[in-house]
């Protein structure tokens, strides 16, 4: 299966390990990622709070590039990128005034027949849990994880149009497929505070500590996410006493599939994953932890 890959800016910087693990896991599951040529910002940063046209035109330009390259599916690993791209796609599909404006600004004609999916969605819907289970060679048996979807992966429901907006299960299913034990917990779709981390750190600290406390109460050893901002907020703004590693779901999948570069990804973590993962993969650990 060939899909257009939209990495987004985080995956080039703070979430490099996410990008690396995605690029390793996808081919192992028979998915060929073809990076969208000359892609640009998805509009999730300042654009969507400052300029409504720009907030749609930026992602639309990426869709235009994907369309030009003959793609049918655009995959975004980052939840915010996914949200922006999908929002733009919805507007284009609706064909209203906004759609006209966007197409004029970007200078392309939308043909339809394009899909935008999050990576979780692609693995869950197109690869399938059964196929993943069959390819696992190092099942993470007994690893209790809290799957954290945050606010954008499955919402707003009319845009995301995927999974249950209140009680999503796709990532839980993926984790179960690689042998881990997803716990049922209450904060799966809470907000982590997103970019407020930069300007009002205290707000984010409060939100993050609530989320991690719920994860702890549910007996999770680690939190699994599909969003760079969630990952960094949860590791960076956590209360000092909670030392719970936050994984990209692709990192754990890579581990379970027996992919070679796992150690490299894990080095980038701020919380040492060794205490949690060493029983599956001796020697794995964050840079600090050695």
């Amino acid at each position: 299966m060939k899909v257009a890959y939209f990495p987004g800016c985080s995956l080039h910087s703070t979430a490099r390990e996410y990008d690396q693990s995605v690029r390793a896991v996808a081919p192992a599951l028979g998915v060929q990622l073809i990076t969208v040529e000359d892609w640009n910002c998805c509009g999730a940063t300042s654009a969507h709070s400052l300029d409504p046209v720009l907030s749609l035109a930026l992602p639309a330009r990426n869709l235009a590039r994907a369309q030009a390259a003959g793609h049918q599916v655009v995959v975004a690993p980052c939840a915010a990128c996914f949200n922006r791209l999908k929002t733009a796609l919805c507007q284009l599909e609706e064909g209203g005034e906004a759609a006209q404006t966007i197409q004029k600004v970007v200078g392309f004609r939308f043909h339809g027949g394009l899909q935008v999916k999050s990576l979780v969605q692609l693995f869950w819907e197109d690869v399938g849990v059964g196929a993943i289970r069959r390819r696992v060679c190092r099942p993470l048996e007994g690893l209790r994880v809290a799957c954290y979807y945050g606010c954008l992966l499955v919402r707003p429901p009319e845009v995301a149009a995927f999974d249950d907006p209140e009680h999503p299960r796709a990532m839980d299913d993926l984790m179960a497929a690689i042998g881990a034990e997803p716990t049922s917990w209450a904060a799966a779709t809470e907000c982590c505070g997103a970019s407020l981390s930069l300007v009002r750190g205290q707000v984010v600290e409060r939100l993050v500590s609530t989320i991690l406390a719920w994860a702890q109460r549910a007996g999770a050893e680690a939190v699994v996410t599909a969003c760079p901002l969630c990952q960094s907020n949860l590791e960076m703004r956590r209360p000092a006493h909670i030392k719970m590693p936050i994984f990209y779901f692709t990192e754990l999948m890579g581990l379970a599939l027996g992919l070679p570069d796992v150690k490299r990804w894990m080095r980038a973590h701020l919380v040492d994953p060794a205490p949690v993962l060493s029983r599956f993969y001796p020697g794995v650990g964050a840079r600090r932890g050695g």
């Binding site: 069959r134 209140e166 209450a186």
Partner: protein, 1479 residues
């Protein structure tokens, strides 16, 4: 038959769709009024939602206690035909003469035979969530809807075939055996398997279990381990051979059949035929039985003793076996026919290995899969060497590989041409093989075998890549050029397929196709007559279960021939045509680990042929069986069939169409609850301690799943803090229902109160927007909940509910009114779910072409309630909009009136009267008592020795006949009792059985049909009062039953006939009040053919309605009022007395004499009539608050309306204040209409005057039900709503010519000050002048608030306690115009029921006075609640007005002299019972 206008005759029958409280009320009114009624409901019993309720607001009456008499009445009414489990499919024809096509769903229980004894319950293994209990409890697949259900009969819930059963090629009923196993009935489970599968142990081990692939449990977590469960059952049976007993076979066949081939197909066919008595001989080429099961499957997967055991059992049915007999070699088919076999079944399998066609295939050390396995299994192990290569990816390849390991190979590698994902072998076997050390190499194909000295040494391969999918749907392997390589090997096993040995078959004269397969039809018929074939020989290699399926099919075909049936036979599978059940949406499955059987450690098992996989213990198996979701509902295990003694169960019933003729149709299918799962943020369906209000209602109910104990579902502990969340699915534009559901605020108040009574110290918090306590007495109830019970109300919508993992408590997040975010913990959360029209009802309406709105509502025009878009089809109840019980009941009577008016000419045409033989006089006869004692199946006889009770009865004085009956209430028993009365000249009858509440009228009717007065009957309850309560003490229960019978006989001996008494009814009505309600009621009565006297105090008709200029929905009421006035004045049946008042009245129901005075000359007019309707209205309350009357710019809403109508609005800054004088200690009720009125006027101002502004100060906006949309419209139009607390009302100051209004906005906490051009007050509604005088005149009660008090808040909303007087309109309480119209019609209908009777029968059981003993003290007069007693002015003795007496007995107790007596309960009779009990 009367002719209608178009020459067609009108049918005097009405179809009522929906038998809830609404349908029942319509049906009862119409049936009583002389129409035949067909009462249709989808459910298996009538009663609707009300039957589920615990208590009712605002009186806290027990819902079932008040409903139950109606159920019995509707169930027994001669003119009501019940159609339970029925839907209205089509409606043809026209008003007055419709043809209705009904579909009666299969019930699988014959209602006429079912006695509701419940003996079927214990054997039923399937427990399903009980929707009647909001799925909080469980019920069996065979069930009665609820204990008091009418008709009192069971039904079976079938949802389709369970997917497991449908998936099984052999049609093995997995659902049934899993269910039976779960309930611990192993033998029965085994019997179910053995119906279609004689190899449970074999298939319990090696089946490819297609059932598990389809199992819906797999959508929750993992499929149920069905195969392991089958094995557990079979292995348990093997340990208990004494239990091995097949179900008796229904048919016996004669004949001789030969089966060629003793594999799974042949042996199954032999088994099925032998069970039916056919003499079967099996011919087998090999020296052993079992076919591929023995020579193909290795012992480590299927131990030999297991196979032997199962074959032994099959042979024990009397099957003859010839081993070493091969077709073509040792015998021919012709010889078999000559030997006298009538049919021959060929099932010789596919035992020839496919050749690969590789160079070097003939080398030594090269084996073929099945040949290799056969040799090993027959004990001839070939020499392999150290390195073994296996080619292929199927189960044979894996079996060969694992066998090779066990034979001592050092390394075994499986080479497969595609990838792991495409491999046909099952996952579990691949895993097991891997664990044992088998290696795999994918994407490679062999190209040649190379040998040295004639022995293979090298395997040459080429790598493949996968191309597009081929015909099998799997991706096709394509060799990669130049990728050849080789491996060194000592042996190669080619396992690439097998086929039948076709030569012998061809020679036997059977047509064989190119692949060597025997050509056969679906039933196994071959080209040769009398010869059938099945299994691998016809299909190529397949699974055991497929072979078994073939065996079943062929056996069925042969059996049909032996039976003498001709022609093509069907496939014979039991599930062929049947629908798979949908995923069971009602279960909330908690993920639970699938049972894992133990396996031998890989290191141990690769050294021997011991069985690798162990079985589950029985306990593990039962626990695993509990994971089954019971998708199909009834599992069709058929255990109920033999358990049912009256033989009422028929699993083959089908839906049936029925056609009836009716003149009108009433749709009253009611409502359904909002699915709370759609509001994911509240976690319903995930968090066990979040429940719906209906679940809570059932929890509170004594008949609920927990018998009234309030507990948390998660741990059964009583909660300490409960939160109610209001408006779940109501007033909600996102996924919910736009309207207000109208009832939730009140049921929440009720549930909160009752819960607090159940659980001491309980804290209850209600989260809500507005509290809509708008109905009669509702506001008081709401105040009581707060003040008396301490229920806390928080005005906020809850944002989210989260479960706290350890305690399973719930954390509610909400913002307070001043914007603070708050979190609070509760033990239990109740979601007050809204109501929406029943989807089944909406579908019916749409099928009928009746218009529905976008919400599915059968919305009627505002001032034409009850009329749908299709003439002759009426709507009542929640289908037309959410409403509470009294409004529903009122509407039901109102549409009954519409139907009755339409069909007036056919009244009585189809009504049936009971016909009885003349009553036999028993005067002077000595008592001859007959006693009938009921077994009630095993309900009574299981504990009480019924024969002993009969024996005891025979010895009692005057008992001339006594006998026991299996079910006394069954049709045949009823006939028998009648016979016995004649046979033995019985003149008293006693039945000892169950409760008189449901059964006494039946038996009374029985003896009346036998010519006896019904009061010569006595009943005693030896079930509820003896067998059920003393189950542990059978002997003493028998003694007690004897005592009860003695008492009944003692009384029966003294019973006397009570003659029926009748009195005439004057068919004219008096309607007091000429407003909207009075005029509507008068016209409605006149339309039904009754004469009416309409009295109006004013000089003109119209009343308050004249002041209403437009309705909230925009209708024009003045047109309606003018039309009504015209119709009233022009109607020859209505006599109008304007400017008249009632002066005096006398008489009783059916016979009133009333004096009117009035007219310009104050003339006195005396009129006679049979009924009275009070429709005297109410008025706008007066006020002096907020400068009213002192400032010209302060007006009331009615005055504003007049301004708006005349276009003279004084200024455009308008402020309104709600609840002026209402909901205060002085006037504690809510006036109901003011919110709608204010919203109506505010919208009109904003729409007419765009520059205007409107601010409304309110306490709660009570735009209940469909009015909510007007509230929304007002907000959309920019009307500003500001809530105020009664402690801090807005203040109004004059500001010169203008006004200044000051208030506080609770949302911001800011003080507001605004200038206003106009202040509009909503002063509410007050009782009309003269209400008190009228209430005294007619002796009618008033509520505390001064409105008339109806007989019963819920179920008699327009009746007075005194018969013959009815109530409607504002005199009953504040209401909107459409509500008045409905109520007026309802009152008219209730009156019409009475007036149409002609004569009334007085109750038999009434009080009488022994005048000699009466001292005229008058105590009985005071004690009589029904005004049925007077002191005769002349004789000075007490007198009973029998028509009014209700037989309550209060006067009997009150009388100091024993002068007051009660017929049927005389002192002598009671004392005789006491004596009998003490003897």
């Amino acid at each position: 038959m009367p002719e209608s206008r178009n020459g067609m005759s009108t049918v005097g029958a009405v179809l009522v769709v929906g038998a809830g409280i609404s349908g029942m009320q319509s049906a009862l009114d119409l049936a009583e009024a002389g129409f035949r009624v067909h009462l249709v409901d989808e459910a298996w019993a009538i009663g609707g939602t009300m039957a589920q309720l615990d208590k009712t607001f605002p009186t806290n009456d027990c819902a079932m206690c008040i409903l139950s008499p109606k159920l019995v009445e509707a169930g027994r009414h001669l003119n009501i035909q019940l159609h339970p489990g029925t839907v209205l499919e089509r409606l043809e024809g026209e008003p007055g003469r419709f043809r209705a096509i009904l579909r009666r769903k299969a019930r699988y229980v014959d209602v006429d035979k079912c006695t509701a004894c419940g003996d079927c319950l214990a054997p039923c293994p399937v427990e399903l969530p009980n929707p009647f209990d909001g799925n909080l409890g469980v019920r069996k697949a065979i069930y009665k809807l609820y204990p008091q259900a009418i008709p009192n009969a069971f039904a079976i819930e079938k949802r389709g075939v369970s997917p497991c059963r449908k998936a099984c090629p052999a049609g093995v009923n997995a659902h049934a055996y899993v269910a039976l196993l779960r309930s611990g009935r192993i033998k029965e489970a085994w019997q179910v398997i053995m119906r279609t599968l004689p190899f449970p142990s074999v298939c319990g081990r090696v089946c490819t279990h297609p059932c598990e692939e389809e199992c819906f449990r797999g959508q929750v977590d993992r499929p149920v381990a069905i195969r392991d469960l089958k094995r557990a059952i079979a292995d348990w049976m093997a340990e208990h051979p004494d239990q091995m007993e097949l179900e008796p076979c229904q048919e016996r066949l004669k004949g001789r059949v030969a089966v060629v081939g003793a594999g799974p197909a042949g042996l199954t066919a032999a088994y099925q035929l032998a069970r039916r008595g056919v003499s079967v001989t099996v011919f087998e080429a090999l020296p052993v039985l079992g076919g591929m099961m023995r020579v193909g499957i290795p012992a480590f997967r299927l131990p030999r003793e297991v196979l032997d055991r199962e074959i032994r059992f099959i042979l024990s049915l009397g099957i003859e076996v010839r081993l070493n007999s091969a077709l073509g070699r040792d015998f021919t088919l012709d010889e078999l026919f000559e030997d006298g076999y009538q049919s021959i079944i060929v099932a010789t399998g596919a035992h020839v290995s496919q050749r690969a066609g590789l160079p070097g295939e003939e080398l030594e050390g090269v084996f073929h899969g099945v040949d290799f396995l056969r040799s090993v299994n027959l004990g001839r192990s070939p020499r392999l060497g150290g390195r073994v290569a296996v080619i292929g990816g199927g189960n044979t390849a894996l079996d060969a590989a694992r066998t090779a390991l066990r034979l001592g190979a050092e390394s075994v590698c499986v080479y497969y041409r595609r990838s792991r994902a495409e491999m046909p072998a099952s996952d579990e076997e691949v895993e097991q093989a891997r664990a044992e050390g088998v290696q795999f190499s994918f994407l490679c194909s062999p190209v040649a075998l190379v040998g040295r000295n004639g022995r293979v040494t090298q395997l040459r391969l080429v790598r493949n890549r996968l191309a597009e999918p081929d015909a099998s749907g799997r991706r096709r392997p394509v060799p990669v050029e130049g990728s050849e390589y080789h491996v060194d090997v000592d042996a190669v096993i080619l396992a690439i397929g097998q086929r039948p040995s076709s030569e012998a078959l061809r020679q036997a004269g059977l047509a064989v196709d190119g692949r060597g397969l025997v050509v056969s039809g679906p039933d196994g018929r071959t080209s040769r007559e009398g010869v059938y074939a099945g299994g691998d020989v016809t299909t190529g290699p397949a699974t055991v279960v497929e072979a078994v399926a073939a065996g079943n099919r062929v056996a069925a075909a042969v059996a049909a021939v032996l039976r003498g049936e001709v022609g093509e036979q069907g496939m014979g599978g039991p599930n062929e045509e049947r629908r798979v059940a949908p995923f069971p949406a009602d279960v909330v499955p908690v993920p639970r680990e699938r049972a894992r059987p133990r396996e031998l450690p890989p290191g141990v098992r690769r050294t021997n042929f011991d069985e690798v996989v162990g079985g589950l213990s029985l306990e593990e198996a039962v626990a695993e069986a509990e994971r089954c979701l019971n998708c199909g509902g009834c599992s069709e295990c058929l255990q109920c069939v033999p358990a049912c003694r009256p033989a009422a169960i028929d699993h083959h019933q089908e839906d049936q169409l029925e056609e009836i003729e009716v003149g009108a149709v009433i749709l009253s299918a009611g409502f359904e609850l909002f699915d709370a799962r759609l509001k994911g943020e509240y976690g319903f369906g995930r968090y066990p301690n979040v429940i719906t209000s209906m679940q809570f209602e059932r929890m509170l109910s004594a008949s609920g799943p927990w018998e009234g104990h309030v507990r948390r579902p998660s741990d059964g502990r009583p909660p300490r803090r409960i939160a109610f969340i209001q408006c779940v699915g109501s007033r909600d534009l996102r996924g919910g229902y736009r309207h207000c559901s109208g009832v939730c605020c009140m049921y929440t108040a009720k549930e909160a109160i009752i819960a607090k009574e159940h659980v001491p110290g309980l804290e209850v918090t209600v989260f809500c927007m507005d509290v809509r306590a708008y109905g009669k007495e509702f506001e008081r109830y709401y105040q009581r909940a707060q003040e008396e019970y301490g229920v806390r109300y928080v005005r906020s919508m809850v944002a989210s509910v989260k479960e706290i993992p350890d305690s399973r408590n719930l954390l509610l997040r909400y913002s307070t009114e001043d914007g603070q975010l708050r979190e609070e913990e509760f033990d239990l959360v109740v979601l007050a779910v809204g109501i929406r029209p029943s989807s089944a009802g909406v579908e019916t309406a749409r099928r009928l072409g009746v218009q529905t709105d976008e919400d599915g509502l059968l919305r009627t025009r505002e001032l034409e309630p009850g009329l749908t878009s299709r003439p002759g089809v009426f709507v009542a109840g929640a289908l037309a909009g959410p409403k509470d019980i009294p409004e529903t009941v009122t509407e039901a009577s109102a549409v009954a009136a519409l139907a009755a008016a339409q069909l007036a000419e056919a009244r009585g045409q189809l009504a049936r009267e009971p016909r009885y033989p003349p009553e036999r006089s028993v005067e002077g006869e000595p008592p001859r008592v007959g006693v009938f004692v009921c077994h009630c199946g095993i309900n009574i006889a299981g504990t009480v020795d019924v024969e002993a009770v009969v024996e005891h009865a025979r010895g009692l004085p005057d008992v001339v006949w006594a006998e026991d009956l299996l079910f006394t209430c069954s049709q045949d028993s009823i006939a028998l009792i009648k016979e016995r009365v004649g046979e033995h000249q019985l003149n008293r009858v006693v039945v000892a059985s169950c409760t008189p509440r449901t059964h006494e009228p039946l038996f009374q009717n029985t003896i009346r049909e036998a010519g006896l007065n019904p009061h010569l009957f006595e009943m005693t309850n030896i079930r509820e009062q003896s067998s059920w309560v003393h189950r542990e003490l059978p002997e003493r229960a028998t003694d007690k039953a004897c005592d009860l019978v003695s008492m009944a006989v003692a009384k029966a001996r003294l019973l006397r006939p009570v003659p029926a008494r009748h009195f005439e009814v004057d068919p004219r009505a008096l309607v007091i009040g000429g407003g909207l309600a009075g005029m509507t009621a008068s016209l409605c009565l006149a339309a039904q053919g009754f004469e009416v006297y309409l009295v109006e105090r004013e000089r003109e008709l119209g009343g308050m309605a004249r002041r209403v200029k437009y309705t909230v929905g925009g209708d024009d009421p003045s047109g309606l009022v003018d039309r009504l006035i015209g119709e009233v004045l022009g109607n020859p049946r209505i006599r109008v007395y304007l400017n008249h008042q009632v002066e005096e009245t006398a008489g009783y129901v059916g016979n009133y004499v009333t004096v009117l005075r009035g007219g310009d000359d104050s003339r006195r007019t005396e009129i006679r009539h049979g009924a009275v309707i009070i429709a005297t209205g109410a008025r706008e309350a007066t006020t002096d608050q907020y400068l009213y009357g002192r400032h010209p710019r302060v007006v009331t809403q009615l005055e504003l309306e007049e301004m708006l109508a005349s276009g003279k609005l004084a200024g455009c800054r308008v402020v309104m204040i709600q609840c002026v004088g209402s909901r205060t200690p002085q006037r504690p009720y809510c006036s109901r209409i003011c919110c709608a009125e204010a919203v109506k006027n505010a919208v009109r101002i904003r729409e007419r005057y765009p520059a205007s502004s409107v601010v409304i100060f309110y306490r709660d906006i009570r735009t209940y039900g469909l009015l909510e949309e007007h509230y929304r419209r007002a907000r959309e139009r920019g009307v500003l709503f500001i809530r105020y607390d009664p402690e801090q009302p807005p203040e109004v100051r004059p500001d010169g010519d203008q006004l200044l209004v000051c208030g506080r906005d609770p949302a911001t906490g800011w003080s507001l000050e605004m200038e206003a051009d106009l202040l509009v007050l909503s002063p509410g509604v007050e009782p009309q002048d003269g209400t008190i005088q009228l209430s005294r005149l007619f002796k009618l009660p008033l509520t505390e608030d001064g409105f008339f008090a109806e007989a019963h808040m819920k179920l008699r909303p327009v009746d007075f306690a005194a018969d013959g007087v009815y109530l409607c309109g504002l005199a009953h309480g504040p209401k909107l115009m459409q509500e008045s119209i409905t109520q007026a019609r309802a009152a008219a209908m209730r009156a019409a029921v009475l007036l149409g009777k002609g004569r009334l029968e007085a109750r038999g059981i009434v009080a009488y006075v022994r005048e000699r003993a009466c001292s005229g003290c008058g105590l009985c007069v005071k004690s009589c609640p029904y005004d049925a007693r007077q002191i005769d002015p002349e004789s000075k003795k007490a007198r009973v007005t029998e028509v009014l007496c209700q037989g309550c007995g209060a006067c009997v107790v009150a009388c100091p002299n024993g002068a007051s007596q009660q017929a049927g309960f005389s002192k002598e009779q009671i004392l005789a019972m006491v004596e009998a009990a003490l003897r």
